[in-house]
């Protein structure tokens, strides 16, 4: 399937490792020019080198800082003469119980995942509106849809990301800018190494499902890969997905429990 992505410019935040780096590689393979952004200069340089293409450039920026986001977008536009696709991927999973996570930690997490994406949208929306086209894809961990005692901070922040995506989509769709999310869970990556699973293995599960370790291994019976997530992102970024707006694709092996 030709995705007609050749010559498009894509920015991926949190692009120097894990899912972000694989998204960058896939978009590059599909013919995009790719800007990856990360906080750590040496990690970023290593990632750019690993992609080994003149179509890829690295940009150091902390998404939590509005001024840095503004400069980032200016620099990407200067380097690539425009920006067609933004993949908001920066941020991590914040495990822990309510008594282990301070409100300061929660706010920092919120800044990366919600206000970071907010500032990105504020900076790129005017450019995309001018062109009458654009894609804005947010990676939202499945804690947004799957509550968990030990991931209360992620659950709160990720739910806010969902509200952001749907509302932003309503605002920008009339201008041809399509906003969507991809919701991964149970993906093999450095982030999920040693991830502790608690009572979610049992809550809401039948005895059958408890015994077959559904909560841990998802209905499909195995974990996914960053490639699985990247495929959904690349599809949503493409011309093949022009009527998909304000929604999300679960890439979770059937993990989340809503029938809608």
């Amino acid at each position: 399937m030709d995705l007609w992505l050749t010559g498009k410019t894509a920015l991926i935040t949190g692009g120097s490792s894990g899912i972000g780096l694989v998204v960058a590689r896939k978009l590059m393979t599909e013919g995009c020019r790719v800007a990856i952004c990360g906080r750590d200069k040496s990690k970023l340089e290593k990632a750019v080198m690993s992609l080994n293409s003149p179509a890829v450039k690295g940009f150091v920026a902390d998404i939590c800082e509005p001024m840095q986001v503004e400069t980032l977008i200016q620099d990407v536009v200067k380097s690539f003469a425009g920006i067609d696709i933004v993949v908001s991927n920066a941020g991590t999973h914040l495990p822990g119980r309510v008594d282990e996570i301070s409100s300061d930690q929660l706010c920092r997490h919120f800044r990366t995942k919600v206000t970071g994406a907010w500032d990105l949208a504020r900076c790129v929306a005017p450019l995309m509106k001018e062109k009458g086209t654009g894609r804005f894809i947010v990676i939202i961990g499945q804690a947004g849809k799957v509550p968990q005692a030990n991931a209360i901070a992620s659950a709160v922040v990720n739910a806010a990301q969902h509200a952001f995506v749907k509302s932003l989509s309503d605002e920008l769709a009339p201008f041809g800018i399509l906003v969507n999310a991809v919701c991964p869970s149970r993906i093999i990556s450095p982030l999920t190494e040693g991830l502790a699973l608690h009572n979610e293995i049992y809550l809401g599960r039948s005895l059958d499902q408890q015994e077959s370790r559904w909560g841990a291994e998802v209905p499909l019976g195995h974990w996914g890969t960053p490639e699985d997530v990247a495929n959904a992102v690349v599809f949503l970024a493409s011309k093949r997905a022009e009527f998909i707006v304000g929604t999300n694709i679960d890439v979770d092996g059937g993990h989340q429990r809503s029938i809608f």
Binding site: K166, S169, D170, L220, N231, A232, T247, N248, V251, I259
Partner: protein, 262 residues
């Protein structure tokens, strides 16, 4: 993006027109062998003739609500193509009526066409897919599932049941490496939409532009969708590129649906 669909065998119910036909065409273009079915033979034969230059396609006149006919359709595909990798449950239509105007017969018919029809086809392909330890099933479920407005009571009830079925069956067969997902379209340009627009014109005494605006205004993108756009999403979801997408649904509606998490 290589979807790796070459040589796969796909069954598309309601494949002679609209979304079903577009899905059949897209899967043919991706290299699948395709078997389509519909109740009426004339339109079915015409579609098979029109698409036959794109790849191997057969048509089998089938009423999917009848178990024996559904099994005959699957057996014919197995005989001609040797396996069944993909099922697209698409047959059936959208039924608008209020609670007052919906009779038990109308509701029963809609449940029979969609819930029983989809279920019968799933039951018919499952043994083959389980033997292969590989299968991909897509249920096409209109957004009346998420938005059961008062004037679309039969479709609202039926489609919500189909969403429950997608999750239940998806959960049950995931360990057999069978991925069941729903694709949820709204306001796709087809004969169905044309008839809905004409109905609005008739009932409300408005012109075509005003009736059509009622549909395009309902999504933030401000336009209707094309059957080929639904087909592209279906092709992605049944491909190896979506190997970790299971027991879920994807909306394709220009932003119509109002759920934050949906």
């Amino acid at each position: 993006m290589d979807l790796n669909l070459k040589g796969k065998v796909a069954l598309v119910t309601g494949g002679s027109r609209g979304i079903g036909r577009a899905v059949a065409q897209c899967l043919l273009e991706e290299g699948c062998n395709v078997a389509i079915c519909s109740r009426g033979l004339t339109q079915l034969e015409a579609t098979v003739a029109e698409l036959s230059n794109k790849g191997r396609i057969i048509g089998v006149a089938t009423d999917v609500t009848k178990e024996s006919e559904a099994h005959r359709f699957v057996e014919r595909a197995l005989k001609d193509f040797g396996r069944v990798d993909i099922l697209i449950n698409n047959a059936g239509t959208h039924v608008r009526a209020t609670v007052e105007s919906t009779t038990v017969q109308i509701l029963e018919q809609q449940l029979r066409d969609k819930v029983f029809g989809f279920f019968t086809m799933i039951k018919a392909v499952l043994p083959t897919m389980q033997r292969q330890r590989d299968g991909r099933i897509i249920n096409i479920v209109g957004q009346a599932a998420r938005h059961p407005h008062p004037d679309r009571f039969p479709s609202g009830v039926t489609n919500a049941a189909l969403m429950a079925m997608t999750k239940s069956v998806g959960d049950a067969v995931a360990r057999d490496n069978i991925r069941v997902n729903a694709v949820c379209p709204q306001y796709i340009e087809s004969e169905l939409l044309a008839s809905l627009i004409e109905r609005e014109m008739r009932q409300r005494g408005v012109d075509r532009a005003a009736a059509a605006a009622g549909f395009t205004r309902a999504n933030p993108l401000g336009r209707t969708g094309q059957p080929s756009e639904v087909a592209d999403l279906v092709a992605f979801l049944v491909s190896d590129c979506a190997n970790f997408v299971a027991a879920s649904s994807v909306s394709i509606d220009g932003g119509y649906q109002r759920y934050v998490f949906g």
